[in-house]
Each structure stands twice: as structure tokens, then as C-alpha cells.
Amino acid sequence: MPTLLRIIVPIVITISVFVNFSIKSQAQVSLDKARQDYSFQFSKYREIQKDYQSAKSQYESFKTAISKNEAFLKTKNYLDQIDNLLIAYVLLINENGQRVNWQSNAQARDSIANSFQAEISYFEDHKQKVQNVSTLEELPPLAKELNEHLSQITFLKVYKTLATYEYTQAKSTFSEFNKILSSLDEYISINYSQQNNTVISNWRSEIRNIGEKTKTNLDLAGEKYSKTKLDTANKDEYKEISLYSTKAAQELKKPKILFDEILRIL
């Protein structure tokens, strides 16, 4: 039995390390792919927009059936490309969730993924509607419908998602900070209980100041975050959450040197 364990344990460890590594690399690949796709769709959008503007001005100048048909085809193509661009954009935002440490807000990850899946379905439906029209007059209402959907739903979901990413990442990093701090406190109290080391005392007070400032900013961000709707947030709400989360993140950059310093002292 022990011989069997000796064989199985290294195999299991190797497999788990390999699986973990492959999951991480796969996630990075999908994020890079999403970035490239969005960039491609955006440059294609710019090209098609020029064609659409040219066809539109031709039609408005000449008002012929041929110029109208050309304007129809180019506008249809333009709206189709906008749908492609928006799908790529939503996928890019969703993939960026991989950069976030979700340990402090795990349930939000699935909620965001579901929310964006609904958006992708909407854009695909809209794309189909655009494909089904046969006259130029039918296209402006479809553009208006999409514009309203973007301003009332999609972009509000995007703001909420960005707020969630920034706040969650700051909160998770702060949890890591507190975990290290308690481990160090425990180590110091065991090994340095008899000594009156002023360097350690000053280090402790400095790190606690950072912790307090971070907590204050995170509390303010959390307060604003809790006031937002389940799936959406407006631009001003996002800006406030982002401001406090960024301040907390900046505070959390300071202990990097202090942690190295205390390891050297201990």
C-alpha cells in the first residue's frame, strides 16, 4: 500500500499542476483572442462607417433609385457591423473578469456572465432583423431601437460590471493583505514577545495606518456599490465606486516594500 501511494501521489500532484497551468493559460488565450477580435471589429467598423457616410451623401445629393439602393446596402452593412462590434465588446468585458480575484464576491461572476449572455442574444436578434429588411426606410427605426437599448440597458450593465471588477479586485487584495498581517502578527508575538524591538513597533504602526486608509476607501466604495441596482449602474455611480476603489488600490501598493523589509528584519 505505501508503495502504491508513493506512485499515485506524485502522479496526482503532476496532473493537478498541469491542469491548473493549462486552465490559466487557456484563460489568457481566450482573453487575448477577445482583445484581438474587438480590435479587428472596431477597425472594420471604421471602414464600413466611411462607406456608409459616402453612400448616404451620394443618395442625399442625387436621390436616384440606384443611389438609394446603394445607401440601403451600405447602411444595412453598417448596422450589421455595429452588432458585430457590440458582441465583440461584450465578450471582451466578460473575458476581462478573469483578471479579477473573485474570492470576496464569487456570486457576482456568474451574474455578470448571465447578464452579458442576454445582451449577446439581443444583438444577434437585432442582427437578424437588419438582415430581413428590404428598404432603406426600415433601417433608421432599427438603429434607433439599438441606440435606446444601448443607453438604457447595455451600457448600464457595463458600468455595473466595471464597478464590480474594480471594487472586487480591491476587496480581495485587501483580504490578502489582512491575511498576511495576521500571520506576521502571530509570528512576531511568538518569536519576539520578550523583546522591545522599536523597528518592529514602527513597522506595525505604519502598516496599520495603511490598512486603516484602505479600509476607509473600501467602505466608501462598498457603500456606493450597495446602492446600485442588481445588474446596472449609471455612469456617475460607476465613477464614484471607481474613485474609492482606485484610492484603496493605491494604498495597497505601499505595503509591498514594507513586507519585504519585515521579512529581512525577521
Partner: protein
């Protein structure tokens, strides 16, 4: 006595004269020597010409001499240029003792150090997501006059 003394004085004068004349002669021969060793470029040129012509193929020899002289001039210029090169001003960098990587041997601290590394990675990841992900500006005001 006076005659004897006069004879001795004459002898002394004669020996001194001899010495002076021998010194003069040696000085003249030195002058001649220096005259003989004086560098004459014309003579050198003619001797070189004669030397070149004395060979069976004077053209080739001339070409070799020309090539050698060009090489000599070039190397002379190169030497001069190398000497004139300004000294490279080396800024003396102030070296601050950089913190050496922490070597941990205490098992109690190994886990903490690993958590610190993880924390640093998380901090570096923390950035403003809006810079990359802000909504694109799309023109959806589609209307025809």
C-alpha cells in the same frame, strides 16, 4: 736658468697649441660627419627610383611602393585620430545598496513569504479597468433627408 725656463714655457705653449689644433680637427671632422648624415629627400627619391628601375618589373615595384606609402599615411592618420579622441566622460554612478533578495530559512516564514508574493501579484493586477473597457463611441443617428 732663464733660458731653461724659457725653453720649458715654449714647450708648454707648443703642447697647448697641439692640443688646440687636434681639438679643432676633431671638431671639423664632427661637422663633416653631421653634414654627411643630413637627410636629402631628392637623393632618397632618386635612390628609390634607381632601385625601382633596377628590378625587372619596375611598374609592379612602383605600385607596391605607392600602396605601402598610402598604407603608412593612412595608419599615421588613424594613429593621430585615435590620439585626439576626447576622453569618454564616464558618469560615476552612485551605487546604493539594493535590497538583496530575502533568503528565508525559517519554515514559519516560508508560507508568509509565499502569501506576500501572491499579494504583490494581486496588487499589480489592480488597475483601472475603465481605461481599456470603456464603451465605444458608435454613431447610431441614422436618418436620410
Amino acid at each position: 736658468m732663464r733660458d731653461e725656463q724659457a725653453g720649458l714655457m715654449e714647450e708648454e705653449i707648443l703642447t697647448e697649441d697641439d692640443k688646440l689644433s687636434s681639438l679643432k680637427q676633431s671638431g671639423d671632422s664632427g661637422k663633416n660627419k653631421s653634414k654627411n648624415t643630413k637627410f636629402d629627400p631628392y637623393e632618397l627619391f632618386t635612390s628609390l627610383k634607381k632601385l625601382a628601375l633596377s628590378f625587372k618589373k619596375p611598374k609592379i615595384i612602383t605600385l607596391i611602393i605607392l600602396f605601402a606609402s598610402i598604407l603608412a599615411i593612412y595608419s599615421a592618420f588613424a594613429l593621430l585620430a585615435a590620439k585626439r579622441q576626447p576622453e569618454v566622460i564616464t558618469q560615476q554612478n552612485l551605487e546604493f545598496p539594493s535590497p538583496s533578495p530575502v533568503e528565508i530559512s525559517d519554515p514559519g516564514l516560508i508560507q508568509i513569504a509565499s502569501d506576500i508574493d501572491k499579494f504583490k501579484q494581486e496588487v499589480d493586477k489592480q488597475e483601472n479597468f475603465s481605461s481599456e473597457l470603456f464603451p465605444p463611441v458608435i454613431d447610431l443617428e441614422i436618418s436620410f433627408k
